[in-house]
Symmetry: C2
Subunit: 252 residues, 2 copies
């Protein structure tokens, strides 16, 4: 029997989950997916996720790979898994990838979006899916501030304790703030992200917006390598893993 390395693309609303990674005494996306894989493939297979999202964080794209000797046709896999998954997790594609493909290590870059509802009045449709800021945000000012994140920097000041990595240098290739009506969006793309990095970036921008931190402070915060110099950690509810970039050719 031929072993295949399968790459799954999923989306999930993270509200009900304690993040991606399997934990004891808490329901996670990984174990929920493994339950569905076990139902379809007949074995509890190890699965590798592209990142470790926090509790309450959402994914419009999340990539996972696992190996199987099942002969199931690739295009049937999303339908088969969705039949065993709850409504808040959905698989929308499956590809056969090279044997050395690894959902985390093979990743070239990731893009996150942070959704801020900028209104004094609640939006019942944004509960758990956006962070509310009641005072008016100047998205153009915030966009100018965010340009300081661009390029290769040591992001130690934008990393929470508890991350597992030694090397805190990352390269940010895009950082922008824009408005769509009552929604302000922060989008950031990088070759990798440190623990809570996007949420600390957003918290810092919001501290600048409220006047707690001065405009133009981000370069000094970066240079300090000191987490206590940066802003608060914004809540998880507005954060979405938007897309994941790989550089490979499909096997099939």
């Amino acid at each position: 029997m031929m072993m295949r390395n399968l790459l799954l693309y999923l989306r999930y609303d993270g509200s009900a989950y304690h993040g991606w990674q399997v934990q004891e005494n808490a329901v996670t996306v990984q174990q929920t997916l493994q339950d569905a894989i076990e139902a379809v493939f007949g074995a509890r297979l190890p699965v590798t996720g592209c990142s470790r999202t926090d509790a309450g964080v959402h994914a419009r794209t999340f990539c996972v790979n696992f190996r199987t000797d099942s002969a199931i046709a690739c295009e049937r896999v999303p339908y088969a898994l969705n039949a065993h998954l709850p409504d808040d997790i959905g698989v929308y594609a499956c590809r056969v990838v090279p044997d050395d493909f690894h959902a985390r290590y093979s990743c070239v870059s990731k893009r996150y979006v942070y959704v801020i509802r900028n209104s004094p009045f609640r939006d019942p449709f944004a509960v758990g899916r956006a962070t509310t800021v009641p005072f008016p945000l100047d998205e153009n000012m915030l966009h100018r501030q965010a340009q300081a994140f661009l390029g290769t920097h040591d992001f130690a000041a934008f990393a929470a304790a508890g991350g597992s990595v030694e090397d805190t240098v990352r390269t940010v290739s895009d950082a922008c703030v824009r408005r769509e009506g009552e929604t302000v969006l922060f989008e950031v793309q990088a070759d990798g992200f440190l623990y809570h990095m996007v949420r600390i970036m957003v918290g810092t921008l919001l501290d600048i917006a409220s006047g707690k931190l001065p405009q133009g402070c981000i370069p000094q915060i970066l240079a300090s390598l000191d987490r206590s110099r940066a802003g608060v950690t914004a809540p998880p509810q507005g954060l979405y893993l938007q897309s994941v970039q790989y550089d490979f050719r499909d096997v099939e």
Copy 2:
């Protein structure tokens, strides 16, 4: 003490409610709002809603009026009520309106949107908020079909039993079908709507899409005045009251 007639604008996610109107043994939006009004205004005041939305139907705008002798400033009312409302109902504006204003009878027209997710794969963010159609829809064909709804017709064939009205003639001023990516939207505006009218319109369009009903059938269905000639009643989850039009001047 001066009596004022207050008009509230709210939004709600109808998933958790048995529609707008107060019922015994079921939680409705009306009674939830009355609880909040009682907490803020100190009395259980009668409130009039602009329409009777069904269980599971949502509102991006829903208008309500009630009379009070409270001197609370109009611009404080949304904040005060939101503090007593659950997350899935939000008040976003309050106006003082003429004494003879009535949220239902003063309404000039209403606009509904029906959201169809057109994909074989689920969107975890659309659970309870869209109806899924897995086969590809031709939105341009459906738009052409929907033009038959325009104008003044007897919509008896598009009304469920159980409505309270005698006169089933309504004037539709806009009816369109359009696509936004994997979402197909049906929007319809009219001077009034019969019981289940939008959901039967959508069900009929979907029956045309699936080939159960022939293209061009809507004029004959309208002329028949026969509910059994129209299509199925589409589920409530995709339906949103989008906007409500009044013709009046603010008192303040």
